[in-house]
């Protein structure tokens, strides 16, 4: 599917502020609400827009701790990635799984209620995941920017 300037304009404004009202978005992108609706439906149909989900604020649910865990896996085991990821999916506190090319193989985003809970999750659930060669933790202090915006 071809993306034209109108689509790009819509996406630029929408990605910058996904929660905004459709009427406001149409106005900012300089299209009528009907055009906006048609364009969005077309981009959903062609897979340019994959999903439109709600954001959950885990802190409001009592999860005050968020840690980024960076793993290097034992690559002598050919199924290391698959088995590690399958096991990580079973840990409820894991809210995101990413794989990389670089010094880090896999990153898990893990939440916990407090440091006591974190210690339990880390020792009992995380360190028991298969094929870990190395693990490093980055504890989130604050999120300064979090946007899906693209320089379209």
């Amino acid at each position: 599917m071809q993306i034209d300037d109108t689509d790009r304009r819509i996406l630029r404004h929408w990605l910058d502020e996904p929660g905004q009202d459709r009427a406001v978005l149409a106005d900012r992108a300089g299209v009528t609400p009907a055009t906006l609706w048609r364009r969005i439906e077309r981009m959903k149909g062609s897979g340019v827009i994959r999903a439109e989900g709600a954001v959950i604020d885990w802190r409001r649910l009592g999860y005050a701790v968020e840690v980024s865990l960076r793993f290097t896996l034992d690559k002598t085991e050919p199924r290391a990635f698959d088995q590690f990821i399958a096991a990580a999916r079973e840990v409820p506190e894991v809210i995101g799984i990413e794989t990389f090319l670089g010094r880090v193989d896999v990153r898990l985003n893990v939440i916990a209620r407090d440091m006591g809970h974190w210690t339990g999750v880390y020792r009992e659930r995380i360190l028991s995941l298969p094929h870990i060669a190395e693990v490093e933790a980055l504890m989130l202090v604050s999120t300064i920017k979090d946007s899906a915006g693209l320089p379209l």
Binding site: R50, G53, D57, R59, V91, I95, G96, R113, L138
Partner: protein
């Protein structure tokens, strides 16, 4: 201190469904979970008002839009003081290719998520925009291959781990 919101199983099911598809109406949610439309609406409204539902995200196929490369950078500042943090944060936020900036504790001071058209474009962003930021010491780059969002602790089988 943030007040913690209590959820029952139905709230958790609603959150799971909305995290996957935020466009679901109260009527559709009601039908799916055996609630009346007004009852589903009241529950969603409570989740919004208490801040548990904190807005929307739009997921796009970045590659189809011409952004084939996403890189996570771990950045260490050369000097650390309140002023240098503020200078760095102000400047890094303004870079359009930088989607996420997180202040972290550990091996690095900041985690950045950077999008680029291709590796050559990423190199340009890295050299001209990132390495010229005030206070930047060392930078480690890892190219994102796959990413998966998980529902988190909303399932019926909550973690059994005790603190």
């Amino acid at each position: 201190m943030t007040a913690v919101v209590d959820l029952d199983d139905l709230d958790r099911a609603l959150l799971r469904a909305l995290a996957a598809d935020g466009t679901l109406s109260a009527g559709e949610l009601g039908r799916r979970f055996g609630l009346s439309q007004p009852a589903a609406w009241r529950r969603v409204r409570r989740l919004e008002e208490t801040g548990v539902l904190a807005g929307r995200r739009v997921e796009v196929d970045r590659e189809k839009l011409g952004f084939g490369v996403t890189v996570f950078l771990g950045v260490r500042l050369a000097t650390k003081g309140r002023v240098s943090l503020e200078d760095f944060e102000r400047a890094v936020q303004a870079i359009p290719e930088v989607q996420v900036v997180q202040h972290v504790l550990g091996l690095f001071d900041y985690r950045l998520r950077v999008v680029a058209r291709d590796l050559a474009d990423f190199e340009r962003v890295l050299r001209r925009r990132i390495m010229t930021l005030p206070g930047v010491g060392s930078v480690e780059a890892n190219v994102l291959l796959t990413e998966e969002r998980r529902p988190g602790p909303l399932g019926a089988a909550d973690s059994v781990v005790k603190g």
